[in-house]
């Protein structure tokens, strides 16, 4: 009798949420969701278009991608709307977001929520405290954004031109000395540029656990001293002697393709395979991560406080967490970015969709990627970028 009671109780507890969801679905029908997402990647743009086709067919929710050159453009727009007193009917319905942008929006009260934990498909996520879907760059998510794709820091290179890439960040110094002018990283004002520095920070700092707390005047110098020593040794042998840098990782990928440098950087383990399929890198392009693993984080979607089509945005956020959607996204022919779902929470049928996905020689196996290193607290990135600019911008 008791299990039945519990089941009935839990049903009773669950049904309001389900009823809420039905209300959300009803309200969402007919809405058009303006999804503000970085528009520099044709495959991501195509995936978002596919998402819109699916949600329109299933839920009557259209998706329009607002292609950004920088995620912060959307943040600025929401601030401008708040400055103008526009507390509803805002122009941004959903933002592809994480890290510092999320932190500043959450702190400024610019986000709608909590909503993510109430999405029906949130059950596929590992939301236990400290898991990567519940902490974003050490900022607690608390339901203010919903996961959609996994990011892992990787280097891309041409295996025909560079048969033996360096295996640690420290080893890049010797490699660059032997190959002057062949290494660079994106401008540090760009998040990929700062990630390059953070990867070195985690590897070189005496006590990596410090990085999980905020950076302070007391701990910053000691923690970063080895990074500056490393960078001072590296810099003279960087491309253009480290006086200028590519604007972002796509520009650097183009330089890799043009043969101007020998490494690209990416937050997508499938980037080499994807770029080969698109004709953007030679067939021999591969990815590697430094020994000891690389920084990983999750890309989220968040809904601004004044979003005009909030319900529609929730429906899209939920759709993104469907196992079938995540598998489609992980398909190398589509996007190739790894699923954010907890494999342990998938049933056999759902797991089979993932197992059936095609592969590519340029696609690393999950075990080749080593352990995922946690993003340092967001304050480290801010301070690291500032300190870098002070040291090397004349």
């Amino acid at each position: 009798m008791r299990p039945l009671v519990i089941a009935a109780l839990s049903l009773g507890l669950a049904s309001p949420a389900l009823a809420d969801w039905q209300a959300t679905l009803d309200a969402a029908r007919g809405q058009t969701v303006y999804w503000n997402a970085w528009g520099g990647d044709a495959r991501t743009n195509a995936f978002i278009e596919w998402v819109g086709e699916q949600t329109e067919a299933r839920y009557g929710v259209k998706v329009e991608q607002v292609k950004l050159t920088d995620t912060a453009d959307a943040v600025t727009r929401v601030i401008a709307e708040k400055a103008a007193g526009q507390t509803s009917g805002g122009s941004v319905d959903m933002i592809w977001i994480n890290g510092p942008n999320f932190r500043s929006m959450k702190e400024q009260g610019l986000l709608h929520g909590p909503f993510a934990t109430d999405l029906p498909n949130a059950k596929y996520l590992d939301l236990s405290p400290g898991s990567s879907a519940s902490v974003d760059f050490t900022t607690p998510v608390e339901g203010y954004e919903s996961a959609w794709r996994l990011a892992r820091f990787v280097f891309t290179y041409d295996s025909a031109r560079t048969p033996e890439p360096p295996l640690t960040m420290a080893a890049f110094v010797d490699w660059a000395a032997a190959n002057p002018g062949r290494l660079t990283h994106p401008a540090v004002s760009n998040f990929m540029g700062s990630t390059f520095l953070k990867q070195a920070l985690i590897e070189l700092t005496p006590d990596p656990s410090v990085l999980q707390g905020p950076a302070t005047d007391e701990n910053f110098d000691a923690a970063t001293a080895p990074v500056w020593a490393w960078y001072d040794a590296l810099r003279p042998n960087l491309w253009r002697q480290g006086e200028t840098f590519p604007e972002n990782q796509s520009v650097q990928q183009q330089m890799l393709n043009d043969g101007e440098v020998d490494f690209g950087v990416s937050f997508d383990p499938a980037s080499a395979a994807g770029a080969i399929a698109e004709g953007l890198l030679p067939e021999t392009a591969r990815v590697f991560v430094p020994e000891g693993g690389s920084i990983g984080n999750i890309s989220f979607v968040a809904i601004p406080f004044n979003a005009a089509n909030r319900e529609g945005a929730e429906v899209v956020a939920n759709f993104l967490l469907e196992p079938a959607t995540q598998a489609h996204q992980q398909n190398i022919e589509v996007l190739g970015s790894f699923s954010v779902l907890d494999p342990a929470k998938l049933n056999a049928e759902e797991a089979a969709i993932f197992a059936a996905l095609p592969s590519s020689p340029a696609l690393p196996a999950l075990e080749d990627l080593g352990p995922t290193l946690l993003e340092p607290d967001a304050s480290w990135m801010t301070r690291l970028t500032e300190a870098w600019a002070e040291r090397y911008t004349k």
Partner: protein, 568 residues
Amino acid sequence: MKPQGRALRAAVLILLMGGFVLPILAGFGQTAGAAFGYLPVLGADSLSLEPWRALFALPGMATSLRLTLVTGIGSTLLALVLAAGFCAFAHGRMTASGMARLLTPFLAAPHAALAIGLAFLLAPSGWIARLVSPWATGWDRPPDLATVNDQWGMALILGLLIKEVPFLLLVMGSALGQLPLRQHLAAGRALGYARGVTWVKVILPQVYPLIRLPIFVTLAFALSVVDMAIILGPSNPPTLSVATTRWFSAPDIALILPASAAALLQIGLVLGAVGLWICAERILRRVGLWWLRRGGRGHPTEPGLWLASTATATLMAMGLAALCALLLWSFAWRWSYPDALPQSWSTKFWLSPGKGWGEALKTTLLLGLASTALSLTLAIAWLEGEDQAGTPRAGWATALIYLPLLTPQLGFLYGLNVVFLQIGISGGMGAVIWAQMLFVFPYVMIALSDPWRALDPRQIRAAASLGASPARRLFAVKLPMLLRPLLTAAAIGFAVSVAQYLPTLFMGAGRIATLTTEAVTLSSGSDRRITGTYATLQAALPFLAYGVAFLIPAILYRNRRGLLGTPT
């Protein structure tokens, strides 16, 4: 002043004040507030100099400033010298329409597209390097040379020159039309002055006052350009305008305050540079008078003219090569170093307009046609108002027209967006058309004013004496006679509309995707093949508009030679 003229003028003026000047001032006010620490939404609500302190404490600020001044003033000065030299050289060797045909591609090609093409042309792994490698250079890998994004801003200056020299040639051409050139040259020759000397000593001093404002526009533009500076300029630190755009969009939103201060500083820079320029004018006038009175006949300017013309021709050749490179890329699949041509071809990017360039093309056309038609109507109303009132244009009216062109866009666009949001019109086509008109109208007005005034007044008097009402005189006499300049002005306006990046982005809330916003966004993803497709379309549209502006009068007036109006 006659009553009907007054009513028309008042209406136009109210429209301009309410629609142009007020929004710019309001936007400027918002930016200025933030620059002095007033932005309540961020919890900043007391006036302070803190944003300025923060701005000047930002690393690389001094270098950014120097870089901006060197590229801005340097490119304008060089462009003026080259254009004057080329003008002197080409005059008499080339017909006015031949010159116009030569200039059209450069005037039509948007800055961003040209910059992307040029970056590919010049890069160490670029087209020029590919053509001579490795057989002549021995570079089996691209060399580590700073041919683009160099820290001195040379590549940026070069890119600016390719756009500015043709623009100045165009305005010089129309200014020359107002001078009795043949007589001056003949008199100069008779007095024993060499051709180049006559140009420098007699013609230029007369042309200069007529092209002064366009030169200031060029200067203001070069000092505040964003898209071209991102693509061709250095990145660490970049020019002030690029740095400001970066701070406006930094994840740390508190940077909006110093960014606003930087936007104000940008306006200060433009004002300062114009002031500096005017000082230089004064000095040159003194020195020039002394030089003129000395009466030297010397020949040494001739090689200078050759040099300037060769440099201009080289610039144009590079510009054309850059545009060709884009077209080629749009049909490429793989094209890697050191191949001179793509290894594999694809029409994938052209054959899938779908939601990509098809939509953007439609939006661009719609915006261009609407903002051009409205601006043209307004310009005609203004000029007709002047005619009816019978008064020449006051200095403040000219200043009003030029205001949007002389104010750096960053200085007021963010604030303007807030104002548009407050009145609830941001994010729609209407807001974008409005914002684009701020820049389209001045160019239409500038292009139309001179031909309008040059219209033979006897024709209108004849019509009036036959009893034609002012409206009939306008529609049956003036406008048909002015068809060609009207269409040219429209083509220029359309080209300006197509090229607008920041206004479309800010006022459209990012939802209005045009060829230009897409091309700039995609260039951050740096797939040259897609960028090539967009940039080709982006350059082709204005080119078509100029073509139409040439063709329609030629067809309509094929049997009325006087109306084809080749300017003398």
